[in-house]
């Protein structure tokens, strides 16, 4: 199996495409940073005992006034920017992976059932999907925050999932409807296969490729969405790290000339999204001609 993967066309195409490799590299660096944050960050910026207000608003180390271990400077609370970015990425990835997993699975399942059984189920779920899709995620986030005073990361995930599942449902529904028409699905019915078997053995494996592309693109969108919500104050709570919130808190210092509070988190954010989008583009290209060849 591994050998088959190593020799596969896909790997070849991947290695030859500079944007795909660049994208994954960017993504990997930030992902590794995020995962290993507790060990590699010079400081845990959310442990109040470590912070010293004396060290607040220091510039990056290569500028005058900057000093170790604050490589990229500090914020107004004395938190090391680099560390906060690493922990912030952690949140971004956590939220994005969770949303994609939950919304992706639930949405795809709903779309599959709607396509397979059609009729009332299809009509109802699609109308529901249209309704949910037209809600702004920000609004839902605010609503949830109002109801559950504590806030927290699970709430952010929930808020995004509630509007995000629709794109998976729609994509899977279209894909599954197309696959349903293929003769091999009719053949499985003629053989007497159960609905379950037909859905999971025949339809899903062949309907998945578009979902993968949607998920890849969606990843970047969810990262941005979480950052936006946190920036507006309706996302991650204040005592938890978030790139969006860093930018929000740091923006008032721009006019005082302390640009690093915004530029570095912003760059991290852009890098994640850029990396994912480059990969997603490559993935979309890769999936298409292969479908045609088969």
């Amino acid at each position: 199996m591994i050998r088959r993967l190593l020799r596969s066309r896909t790997l070849n195409h991947y290695l030859r495409d500079p944007s795909a490799v660049l994208g994954s590299f960017l993504l990997l660096v930030l992902l590794v940073g995020a995962v290993f944050a507790p060990w590699i960050a010079p400081q845990n910026p959310y442990d109040p005992k470590v912070l010293t207000l004396q060290d607040s608003l220091l510039p990056p180390i290569w500028m005058e006034g900057g000093r170790a271990p604050y490589l990229l400077g500090t914020d107004d609370q004395g938190r090391d920017i680099l560390s906060t970015i690493l922990y912030g990425c952690r949140t971004s990835f956590l939220v994005a992976f969770s949303v994609i997993l939950i919304a992706g699975t639930a949405g795809s399942l709903i779309g599959l059932l709607a396509a397979y059984y059609g009729g009332v189920l299809d009509a109802v779920t699609m109308r529901l999907a249209d309704t949910m899709f037209s809600f702004s995620t920000t609004l839902i986030a605010m609503l949830l925050l109002g109801i559950f005073k504590g806030g927290g990361i699970p709430l952010v995930i929930l808020a995004i999932v509630l509007t995000d599942w629709v794109r998976y449902a729609r994509t899977m529904r279209g894909s599954a409807l197309a696959v349903k028409q293929e003769d091999y699905v009719q053949a499985a019915r003629a053989v007497g296969a159960s609905n379950f078997r037909i859905m999971f053995r025949h339809i899903i494996p062949n309907a998945i490729p578009p979902i993968l592309v949607v998920a890849a693109v969606d990843f970047g969108a969810v990262v941005m969405l979480e950052a936006t919500l946190s920036f507006l104050g309706v996302g991650v709570p204040i005592n938890k790290p978030s790139l969006g919130m860093m930018i929000s808190q740091g923006k008032r210092f721009i006019y005082a000339g302390k640009w690093w509070l915004v530029v570095f988190p912003g760059s991290a954010l852009i890098s994640i999204v850029l990396g994912v989008n480059l990969l997603a583009d490559w993935l979309r290209e890769e999936i298409n001609p292969r479908l045609r060849k088969r």
Binding site: D183, Y184, A187, R189, V191, G192
Partner: protein, 345 residues
């Protein structure tokens, strides 16, 4: 509950009054505004071990007929009587329940026209051919592997092909895989839905010969759907001709080809190429197009294009009756016209 259904001895399948209408919906509320009469009152029967050819132009309803008989589509009306070995009695396929239908699936199978869409591209050949065995819990693991190898060899493929994927095979080979899959459950009836239409002519001959050999070997009964008359001539014992959802003629192959009774049949036959350089073809080219099945013509559906039509043809639909020797036709003028057939070699 119901009285016992009976079928003549030696008859495996008898279809009576089969209809399949598709609704045409319009508007926001998807109201039904019309019906596509894909299969419109079809009668036929097939004796055990025989092949009934079903021919007609594209869109005449032959594929829909085949699928409705197998109940892959729900019939709108009609009766499909089948002598089931597994259930030990004659059943109406159109009306039996889900549990019985699943048991019945082992006795009726289908081979599809398109070798490229009839095999799941994500499954190995072994999985594809073995799936029926798994669904009906007939074999697992080693035993299944053995059976699959047997089936592949029966259709002329090698056992090691089991591990390969459909895209690694040619069209003709894929059709063989489809045939192997249809045979896996040891069915009595196989609906062959244009199995060679998508293949090159030389491969067509190979696959047709295979089908004939298998028929003899496994005592199969075929409903052979096709639009190519020369193919049908070769493999069928009897032939039915379809037009716009109705069967217009049904007779033994040689009889149909040499003494057709229906003008549509005559026109179809005139287009069959004859391998004789001295033969001067007089092709009958029909005027007009095939009418839409949503809005068929009055009386006899064929009358607008029929060279022999008379006033009665547009007023009354013709009766499908026996003109002697089990040669059926639906035409008001069938007895009086002397239509041209082809020479049989």
């Amino acid at each position: 509950m119901a009285t016992e259904i009976t079928l003549e001895t030696d008859t495996l399948l008898r279809v009576t009054g089969l209809k399949k209408y598709f609704p045409v919906r319009r508007g926001v509320f998807r109201r039904v505004v019309g019906w596509v009469k894909a299969v419109d009152d079809v009668d036929m029967f097939i004796p055990e071990g025989e092949t009934l050819g079903l021919v007609g132009e594209s869109g005449c309803g032959k594929t829909t007929t085949g699928r409705t008989i197998l109940r892959l589509l729900e019939p709108t009306a009609g009766e499909v009587l089948f002598r089931s070995k597994r259930l030990g009695r004659v059943v109406d396929v159109a009306k039996i329940g889900k549990k019985e239908l699943k048991l019945l699936r082992r006795e009726m199978q289908i081979i599809f026209q398109d070798p490229y869409s009839s095999l799941n591209p994500r499954m190995t050949v072994g999985d594809i051919v073995g799936e029926p065995l798994i669904v009906h819990r007939m074999a697992k693991g080693k035993e299944k592997e053995e059976k699959v190898k047997e089936l592949l060899q029966a259709v002329g493929l090698k056992p090691e092909h089991m591990r390969r994927y459909p895209h690694e095979f040619s069209g003709g080979q894929r059709q063989r895989i489809g045939i192997a899959r249809a045979l896996a459950l040891n069915p009595q009836l196989i609906v062959c839905d244009e199995p060679v239409s998508a293949l090159d002519v030389s491969i067509q001959a190979q696959v047709l010969n295979l089908l004939e050999d298998l028929q003899e070997q496994f005592h199969l009964t075929y409903l052979f759907i096709a639009h190519d008359l020369s193919v049908v001539k070769h493999i069928s014992d009897r032939v039915a001709v379809m037009y716009l959802g109705k069967i217009v003629e049904l007779a033994e192959t040689e009889e149909l080809f040499t003494h057709p009774l229906h003008p549509y049949t005559e026109a179809l036959l005139s287009a069959v190429p004859v391998p004789d350089p001295d033969y001067e073809a007089e092709r009958i080219i029909l005027q007009g197009d095939v009418p839409s099945p949503v809005n068929p013509p009055s009386g006899c559906y064929f009358h607008p294009r029929c060279p022999y039509a008379q006033s009665i043809c547009s007023e009354q639909p013709p009766e499908f009756r026996d003109f002697g020797g089990a040669h059926f036709a639906a035409c008001h003028r069938a007895g009086e016209l002397s239509l041209r057939g082809v020479k049989m070699q």
